[in-house]
């Protein structure tokens, strides 16, 4: 029993270490999701040019891909959330994108307070 | 000339830019040539210009690197060719007469002489 507890603690510790390392990428992904939502908001309101929107989609997706591939724990809850965000179409509704942002923000806040 | 006066002259001269009689930059005072004997005052004979004058002022490894990239040419500017010394050393003659500006003149041949307003 004592040995199992130690192994579990070690695993949890390793996971939380990995999560701590991934915190900067979670923040980046959260921010990129929010930027993406903001761009799509402005696109729907006709406040930005089509060229700008396409360009921003390209660069935001590129940055999100980089953040996702830098994760040490891609199968974690936040890893899956980021993958789902990556899978969204470029012109996804802003609210849909923001739902991912909200979840990532919650995970980010939990990790920061831990 | 007092010893401390000579040292001050050297430190004031070293690394000043050289400007010829046509107002063109011709290099930097990289070293100075002094003449004298033990117990007698030192006299400034000439200014030395070029990467060849850096030896003694740079570590050996840096000199080897410099020799590979910039060569080790050395041009001697006699004291009599100097007009004034201030924020720069101003010469009495065009740089070419003293063997200065050789590289500048060579590189000038590589560039097209048109298109600039």
């Amino acid at each position: 029993m004592g040995r199992s507890a130690c192994i579990l603690l070690a695993l949890l510790s390793a996971c939380s270490e990995g999560a701590a390392k991934d915190l900067q990428y979670i923040k980046q992904a959260r921010s990129i999701g929010a930027e993406w939502a903001l761009v799509n908001d402005q696109a729907h309101s006709g406040r930005v040019t089509t060229v700008y929107v396409q360009s921003m989609h390209h660069w935001l997706h590129d940055s999100l891909q980089t953040a996702s591939s830098s994760l040490t724990q891609p199968q974690s809850e936040y890893g899956r959330e980021i993958s789902q965000l990556l899978a969204e179409p470029a012109d996804a509704p802003p609210d849909q994108l923001r739902s991912h942002v909200t979840k990532l923000k919650q995970i980010e806040d939990q990790l920061e307070s831990a | 000339m007092k010893p401390d006066g000579a040292i001050k002259l050297v430190s004031e001269l070293l690394d000043l830019p050289l400007i010829d009689s046509n107002g063109r930059y011709c290099g930097i005072v990289d070293d100075v040539e002094l003449k004298g004997q033990a117990g007698k005052p030192l006299r400034l004979e000439a200014l030395l210009v070029g990467p060849g004058a850096y030896s003694g002022r740079l570590p050996r490894w840096a000199m080897s690197l410099l020799r590979m990239t910039a060569g080790d040419r050395l041009t001697r500017v006699p004291l009599g060719q100097i007009r004034t010394i201030g924020a720069a050393v101003e010469l009495k003659v065009p740089g070419e007469k003293l063997g200065l500006r050789k590289t500048e003149d060579r590189v000038e041949g590589w560039l097209p002489k048109r298109g600039a307003l």
Partner: protein, 411 residues
């Protein structure tokens, strides 16, 4: 003093103040810490005004640019170390600017980033070859005034002026965790570096020689430094404040430079966006020119070559070849695929490490009565100069640890 020339000089300095690093860090500072870092921009601007004024005065009175006299002051060995360090720092900065310009064209026209980086490098080389110095400086600087749209956006975004004014008071926000405190420290160092980039002083001083400044231009130099850079910094502060209003509450920490253009798009629509992108394009292009020429000036002046764009390119052949090679070297860095934001981080880091070596000889030279006569530093300038010198030394020591501890301000 010609009022028209003075006005053009000030406006050029205003339009040319913001570069890619200030753009990025102003936007991130606003979204992360609200208005709390405004005072750091103002504080750093005073620093660059002090040293720019010094460098312009040295150029006008000693009739020699900073790097000529720097080698004389520091000696060959330390002078070479300073030269190599500043060339590396300015080269990385130039690469960041070229990458930034290519990005702006991509946002505006949708054309390939790599193609635009190559095309812009060629365009910049051609523009420096063809145009005389004054036109080079004025063209990019005055067109950079499109950036005024960010100041206009601040009004349209219903800026909380009391809180913005409050941001001018030196402060550290309350309730920060240790990590957030370290991040705040990193942003302070990064902003000091971005505003006080070494290339600004080299370019300004050499520009004074290019324009044949003399003692009669001392007042012009002073006014251009104070008003040009002071007003220019207001544009950077406007970007920060807009970011605090629009991006902070939306959980946006701008990951790419193009996001900043939304600050003008949100209130003004497509025209606001286009003006913002044009302003960013010209300001960053101007910075690319300045960083490259600053490097070429430094190298040519250190070795005593003929230099200057007041001459035809073939009249200063080694100088000309040097700036062309430097542009191509910066382009090569961009073409390795390194992200522009990463280049900006490295530019800021390298620059802060070089700053003490840059400013110390300038401080000593401008205070030396043998060179400067009655135009040597007065008591106020001397005090401010030494104060800011020690600030940049502290920032230089703190930069690397803060960068690694905060993952470049990302927490």
């Amino acid at each position: 003093m010609n009022p028209l020339e003075l006005t053009l000089g000030i406006m050029t300095a205003v339009g040319g103040f913001v570069d890619i690093s200030e753009l990025v860090f102003a936007a991130r500072a606003g979204s992360t810490f609200g208005f709390a870092l405004i005072w750091v921009f103002a504080f750093s601007t005073v620093g660059i005004v002090v040293f720019s004024e010094m460098s312009g005065r040295v150029a006008a009175v000693a009739k020699q640019p900073v790097f000529n006299l720097m080698r004389h002051r520091l000696g060959l060995e330390l002078g070479l170390v300073t030269l190599v360090a500043s060339v590396i720092s300015n080269l990385i900065t130039c690469a960041a600017e070229i990458g930034g310009v290519a990005l702006m064209l991509n946002y505006l026209l949708g054309l390939s980033y790599v193609l635009m980086a190559v095309a812009m490098t060629i365009a910049l080389i051609v523009s420096i070859w063809v145009l005389p110095f004054k036109w080079i400086e004025r063209a990019y600087g005055l067109l950079g005034l499109f950036m005024i749209v960010f100041a206009a956006a601040l009004f349209a975004n219903h800026a909380p002026w009391t809180r913005i004014a409050g941001g001018l008071v030196p402060q550290v926000p309350r309730g920060l965790t240790t990590k957030e405190m370290l991040s705040f420290g990193y942003f302070c160092v990064a902003i000091v570096s971005a505003v006080m980039f070494p290339y600004e002083v080299y370019f300004y001083s050499s520009g004074g020689i290019e324009e044949e400044w003399g003692p009669k231009d001392i007042l012009t130099n002073r006014l251009t430094s104070i008003l040009g850079m002071g007003l220019g910094s207001l544009l950077a502060i406007a970007i920060l404040a807009n970011s605090a209003i629009l991006f902070g509450p939306a959980n946006v920490d701008p990951a790419i430079p193009g996001t900043a253009a939304l600050e003008a798009a949100i209130p003004f629509g497509k025209w606001g966006l286009i003006l913002a992108l044009l302003g960013m394009f010209f300001a960053v292009a101007g910075a690319a020119v300045e960083t490259c020429l600053a490097n070429a000036y430094s190298i040519a002046q250190f070795f005593g070559w003929a230099w200057g764009r007041h001459k035809k390119p073939w009249e200063a052949p080694r100088f000309t070849l040097t700036w062309i090679i430097l542009f191509l070297a910066a382009l090569a860095i961009v073409l390795t695929g390194v992200d522009v934001m990463t280049l900006v981080e490295f530019a800021v880091l390298f620059s802060i490490l070089v700053l003490p070596l840059t400013y110390l000889p300038l401080l000593l030279l401008s205070g030396d009565r043998k060179f400067m006569g009655r135009y040597a530093n007065g008591a106020v300038t001397k005090w401010l100069g030494w104060f800011y010198f020690w600030i940049v030394c502290i920032a230089a020591v703190a930069a690397l640890p803060l960068y690694f501890l905060t993952s470049g301000g990302n927490g």
